[in-house]
């Protein structure tokens, strides 16, 4: 809980100075820096958390990546703020999943449960 509060505080303080990202470049970075390897190519999760829809604002996202929990912590030397902004912009551009209510196979599984 304390960690979340700290991240929120950092996010609020940093919000005004966050650079706007380039989603196209962000996609290249998302792939080359292996974000997909845990979060999937479309950000829907896998070994790592689901990124779509992204629950953090850009500053919170940056703060999290700098000092992550189970995922690798990416220092600014490895991923400068500008690159993280691009990755963030790409994640925000990714489509959300269809509603489970509109997927017949999922509904069948729920009925079987």
């Amino acid at each position: 809980m304390q960690r979340l509060l700290l991240l929120a505080l950092i996010a609020v303080l940093a919000c005004a100075q966050s650079p706007a990202g380039d989603a196209k470049h962000g996609k290249e970075l998302f792939l080359s820096f292996g974000c997909y390897s845990c979060h999937s190519f479309d950000g829907h999760g896998g070994a790592g958390a689901r990124l779509v829809p992204m629950p953090l604002n850009q500053a919170g996202f940056t703060a999290f990546v700098r000092n992550a929990g189970r995922m690798p912590s990416y220092s600014s030397k490895v991923l400068p703020d500008e690159k993280l902004a691009d990755i963030y912009a790409y994640i925000k551009s990714l489509p959300t999943s269809p509603d489970a209510k509109n997927i017949p196979l999922i509904q069948e599984l729920l009925k079987e449960n």
């Binding site: 292996g34 999937s40 896998g46 070994a47 992550a68 995922m71 912590s73 999943s97 999922i106 449960n113």
Partner: protein, 649 residues
């Protein structure tokens, strides 16, 4: 040398009518020398037609018959012994060190019980036996060279050892240097063949007579099948295989009767103490490792869980507990006041947090509540070796029962029932509804999460599992692969309730196990007409893809679904972790871990091995129809493959 002399004497006795037996033994080298000389002095001009003398020499029986044949090689007796042990199959990549037994199996033994399976790699042979056991419940025999074959096989043996699986391995070797014919046979011989794998096998022997072979072969089977079950090694000396059964032995060779040992049950006093703790607990939790050895094991675990209304946390090592049961996964170790570990190989990992790979140092913490009690029933406490460290960290427990869990469960259930008073019964029943609701919500959460990325390309592993389930749920199916690398989706979405629905995993995470283990398990399913489903990791298949040919050649029906994420993905993530720790080059982690450029066409690979295939499939909407078509092929008794380009996990 003494042994050579004895055998040549016996052989002379065997060759009745060969009056000049000893002379015959030396005649061959002279003849061979003459032949060699003829080769050296062969004229450059065309050979003239044979004259009358030569024709006569080739059509008239020679005055002296040098008998180089026998109708009773020692390997026939070895096959007699092997047949008494009830093997259905013997898997082997052919090798000269066991050519005698090979010939006896297919001719003297009629290639039935056991039937020879042609394998393209010894690692495949062992892993096929590994997978076969986990469906059939009895060992498959494997043959290999004592040297080069065993070197190929060794990783797979370690997997079977760590997975507590009996594999019956027969090695060929020429023990006596005086009997080695060539440099090949010298290179393929070894003083102590089994030493290479002695650290991760339960028992081995190198008998020096046929009588000794019979006794050791039967003893080895008994040892392999006594919990904790493990691989064993018998070395079949090539001279014993290939030379005639000594005349003196013919009337007295015997095959001992096999009597399997009953599995070791726990000490009665300790069981009573465990029952007392479990019945008194407010929130007992059962952790299941390799509990169910037979179908009865599942029934017993259900009985114990229901008697106590204790949730079961399944470690996915065996088919232990029905996944749709209201107690399945309905609790946590951290929430328990008594934790019962049944055949859990690494209890410390169950009771502690795991330090993330990306963290410096170790920071694992115990997750059990203060005062919580831990009980273990573990056959691994009866047997252990030190060099290979698959046993994990030492865990502090309150009651350790060194016994086979399944054999102990009937007594434990009885003792629990005896101790449940009316008051305790009310308490126990009161938690049933709550646990059922937790289990239902867990399942619902998993199903809803399967929708994430539903339309994504590459295909999500959740969608792959859901599409598969849609096609097999009305069939008699068997999942013959691990689930770790597909985020456990089948275990989260499908209803596992039959003993053959799941076979667990590698044992020691030795990659290369998956494909051959699936083929072995599918072979065991074949006679029951089950649809075997193998979710096949791409990196794993590339170790020894020739097993696809084995499946096609032996008409082993199975549906292979490629989890083609085009990387050694676990290692890719590890290298990313290391690069992030070192603050450099995370974007270079694909070097040495990616399986791209070029992408491998697994459908083409399967076709090359003679297997029906489709793919690569990248559009998730194409997957369901492709699976349906492949299942039709499988129902006709053939293997099939669908190559699916997938998300990483």
């Amino acid at each position: 040398m003494a042994r050579s002399k004895k055998i040549s004497v016996d052989r002379r006795g065997f060759l009745k009518g060969a009056a000049a037996g000893a002379a015959a033994l030396v005649a061959r080298p002279e003849a061979a020398k003459a032949q060699d000389a003829a080769e050296v002095h062969r004229p450059a001009t065309p050979t003239p037609l044979p004259g009358a003398k030569q024709t006569a020499s080739e059509t008239t029986p020679p005055p002296h018959v040098d008998v180089w044949t026998t109708d009773r090689p020692g390997s026939d007796f070895m096959v007699d012994v092997i047949k008494t042990l009830g093997f259905e199959y013997v898997a082997a990549n052919p090798g000269s060190a066991f050519r005698g037994i090979h010939e006896s199996l297919i001719n003297y033994g009629g290639n039935k019980a056991p039937e020879l399976l042609t394998c393209c790699h010894e690692e495949s042979s062992i892993a096929m036996a590994h997978g076969y056991y986990k469906i059939e419940g009895k060992p498959m025999m494997v043959m290999a060279h004592g040297t080069v074959g065993l070197q190929h096989a060794s990783m797979a043996i370690y997997n079977a050892y760590a997975d507590r699986v009996p594999v019956y391995l027969l090695l060929g070797n020429i023990q006596d240097g005086a009997w080695r014919r060539s440099d090949v046979e010298w290179a393929h011989s070894v003083q102590d063949a089994a030493s290479m794998v002695r650290d991760y096998t339960k028992w081995d022997d190198s008998p020096v007579s046929l009588g000794g072979f019979a006794e050791s072969a039967v003893r080895a089977y008994k040892i392999a099948m006594t919990p904790p079950m493990e691989p064993i090694v018998i070395v079949a000396d090539a001279v014993l295989q290939e030379e005639p059964i000594p005349e003196a032995d013919r009337g007295r060779l015997q095959i001992p009767k096999l009597t399997l040992a009953s599995p070791p049950a726990g000490d009665y006093g300790a069981i009573k103490e465990a029952a007392k703790m479990l019945v008194a607990a407010e929130n007992p939790v059962i952790v299941a490792g390799r509990v169910a050895r037979t179908p009865e094991g599942i029934n017993l675990l259900v009985q114990l869980a229901e008697t106590l209304q204790a949730p079961v946390i399944d470690r996915n090592l065996r088919m232990n507990f029905p996944t749709a049961h209201p107690l399945y996964g309905a609790g946590t170790v951290g929430g328990a006041d008594v934790v019962l570990g049944l055949e859990v190989p690494d209890m410390w990992q169950v009771t502690h947090t795991q330090t993330p790979v990306n963290k410096m140092g170790m920071e694992s913490k115990r997750v059990t509540k203060p005062g919580a009690k831990v009980i273990t029933i573990f056959a691994g406490d009866l047997f252990g070796k030190s060099n290979y460290q698959d046993f994990g960290r030492y865990d502090e427990v309150d009651l350790a029962i060194a016994a086979d869990a399944q054999a102990t469960l009937p007594m434990l259930i009885d003792e629990c029932r005896k101790l449940i008073t009316a008051d305790r019964k009310a308490v126990i029943q009161a938690r049933a509804a709550k646990l059922a609701e937790v289990s239902r919500r867990n399942r619902e959460r998993d199903i809803e999460q399967a929708a994430w990325g539903w339309d994504a390309s590459p295909v999500t592993t959740a969608r792959m599992a859901a599409e598969l389930w849609n096609q097999i749920k009305t069939e008699d199916w068997s999942l013959v692969s691990d689930v770790t690398f597909v985020s456990w989706w089948p275990r989260r979405l499908w209803d596992f309730d039959k003993p053959y629905h799941f076979i667990g995993g590698h044992g020691a995470y030795g990659v290369g196990y998956g494909a051959p283990a699936a083929v072995g398990a599918a072979l065991a399913n074949k006679k029951h007409g089950r649809i075997s489903v193998n979710i096949q990791c791409d990196g794993d298949l590339n170790y020894a893809p020739g097993v696809l040919w084995t499946a096609a050649h032996h008409r082993i029906p199975m549906l292979n679904i490629m989890h083609n994420n085009r990387a050694y993905h676990q290692e890719l993530m590890y290298v990313e972790d290391m690069a992030a720790r070192a603050r450099r080059g995370v974007d270079r982690a694909g070097i040495g871990t990616a399986i791209t450029d070029p992408n491998i066409d697994y459908a083409m690979m399967a076709k090359a091995y003679g297997m029906f295939s489709e793919g690569p499939i990248e559009n998730p909407n194409d997957l369901g129809p492709a699976i349906k078509r492949a299942i039709e092929v499988v129902k006709k008794g053939e293997p099939a493959m669908i190559d699916v380009v997938t998300q990483p996990r």
